[in-house]
Amino acid sequence: ACAPDSGASSSQLAPSRTLTVFAASSLTEALVEVKSAFEESHPDVRISLQFAGTPTLRLQIEEGAQADLFLSADESNMSALRNSGLAEGTPAVLVTNGLVVIASKAGPVRALPDLARPGLRLALALSSVPVGHYSRTALAALGQDPSLAPDFERRVLANVVTEEPNVRQVVGKVRLGDIDAAFVYRSDLAATGPDVRAILIPAEYNVVATYLVAVMERAREPELARQLLGFLQGDRAQSIFQRYGFGAFPS
């Protein structure tokens, strides 16, 4: 399911406090597990998760949504919130992420150079959402790779048929086989399944996406939120994140 409730074991104790967490949708699976872990150790706390694209979450917070903690997939949206005084203190780094190319197993893409073959159907995320921005950066970097065709970047972009506002939709379309290949987060590999092959991007051309976390100014439970923030940065949570393909936060 999408956001499983705290397990049956903890439900005897009526949770008295609720934390609302707004999180970028790429964190979905990992965060659901982290939530269970936290609730296990804090039986009186219930975490309510709200996943969406980072810009949407920011917009909702700006328009008055009540959130205790905000997990952003990039820096710019977080700093916008900080600038408008909605985020408390300096945002902390949560995890890092990288990009990977995924390709439909039934499709013709087996390696990076295949991306430039004419007639392919590729998907990118919108340049305005973090992953879309990162994808274009990585693509531009790959264009410098001498082992690839000289106009690699142009030819790949010519194969793009859709710019998705959400990275999860990109994954879905590749899974369905209607899109041959796409740039997604490394952490998304956890949600791909067997129909999809992963093609790694050499580290020198890859990007490092940094996820930030901050307690919100209007938090109802600021103290608890700070506790959760600490928990997120702790070993237990970080190991869960790593299992889902995220990099450790550089402490």
Binding site: A3, G64, N166, R168
Partner: protein
């Protein structure tokens, strides 16, 4: 009386009917086949979260439809019959919500009733907070679905011959009696038709809801939002939920269709 066998029309009517059937039937068949192939239907059905979403969808859409019918029916009747001040204006405004992509509609509601707006702040001061509550789900559903009901009801009332209403009045019945016993039953097929459209729309609503009410399980996560969430992680679960929603909605619409068919049989 035995109706004329409209043979040429039945045939001509059949061609688009078959095409349309295929066009909408195939995706549904694909959806169902894939959902079955991927499995997970039984699992989803026993998931308490799914049941909560389903319940939330049913309850909120029921409330929305109640409000739409109670508020929309007199409005539609007024639009059909009387020429009150601003009649033209309201008539044009009724359909306005349809032209906004639901996400933008949700955004507009957020900007109207959210904390950033004077209205939202005033409401907050008296303790009313709309955004990200179950009430916001209802608001979103009403916003996007009411026009369907009101428009259909208005056309239905307009098609009722005013002679019947006149005659009811000469028989000593008040305008209210006349409305209830003449106009309403005569327009009922249109009202039910509009209600079916509006209900279907409300049940499938997610854009405005996501923006204005958010996506919190048990509070604002309706079935469409649950499907959307599942879609981002677990296709088989998403498809299972979509199948469940379809079946439940079809049952509801079937009930409405049954009601209007019964009315037709007794001679409407």
């Amino acid at each position: 009386m035995k109706p004329l066998p409209l043979t040429p029309w039945s045939l001509l009517g059949n061609a688009p009917a078959i095409l349309y059937l295929l066009f909408i039937g195939i995706p549904f068949v694909a959806l169902f086949l894939r959902a079955i192939a991927l499995g997970g239907l039984g699992e989803s059905l026993s998931d308490p979260l799914v049941l909560r979403s389903l319940l939330l969808s049913l309850v909120t859409s029921l409330i929305s439809m109640g409000i739409v019918v109670i508020g929309g029916t007199p409005l539609a009747y007024a639009l059909a019959r009387s020429r009150f001040l601003g009649h033209r204006l309201v008539d044009a405004l009724v359909e306005l919500p349809l032209v906004l992509p639901p996400v933008v509609a949700g955004l507009a509601m957020l900007m109207a009733f959210g904390r950033q707006s004077p209205l939202g702040r005033a409401m907050e001061e008296v303790g009313i907070v709309l955004p990200f509550t179950t009430a916001a789900v209802v608001f979103s559903q009403i916003f996007v679905s009411a026009p369907f009901y009101i428009r259909a009801a208005r056309l239905g009332f307009q098609a009722v011959d005013a002679t019947y209403e006149d005659l009811s009045r000469t028989l000593g019945r008040s305008p209210w009696d006349t409305f209830r016993r003449i106009s309403l039953p005569l327009a009922l097929p249109s009202l039910l038709g509009g209600l079916a459209l509006a209900w279907a729309r409300a049940l499938s609503e997610f854009g405005a809801t996501l923006m204005f009410a958010g996506n919190f399980p048990g509070v604002t996560q309706t079935m469409p939002l649950a499907i959307l969430s599942a879609l981002e992680s677990d296709l088989s679960n998403a498809l299972a939920l979509a199948v469940i929603l379809t079946i439940v909605s079809v049952a509801l619409l079937g009930a409405i269709a049954f009601l209007s068919a019964r009315r037709e049989r007794i001679g409407l």
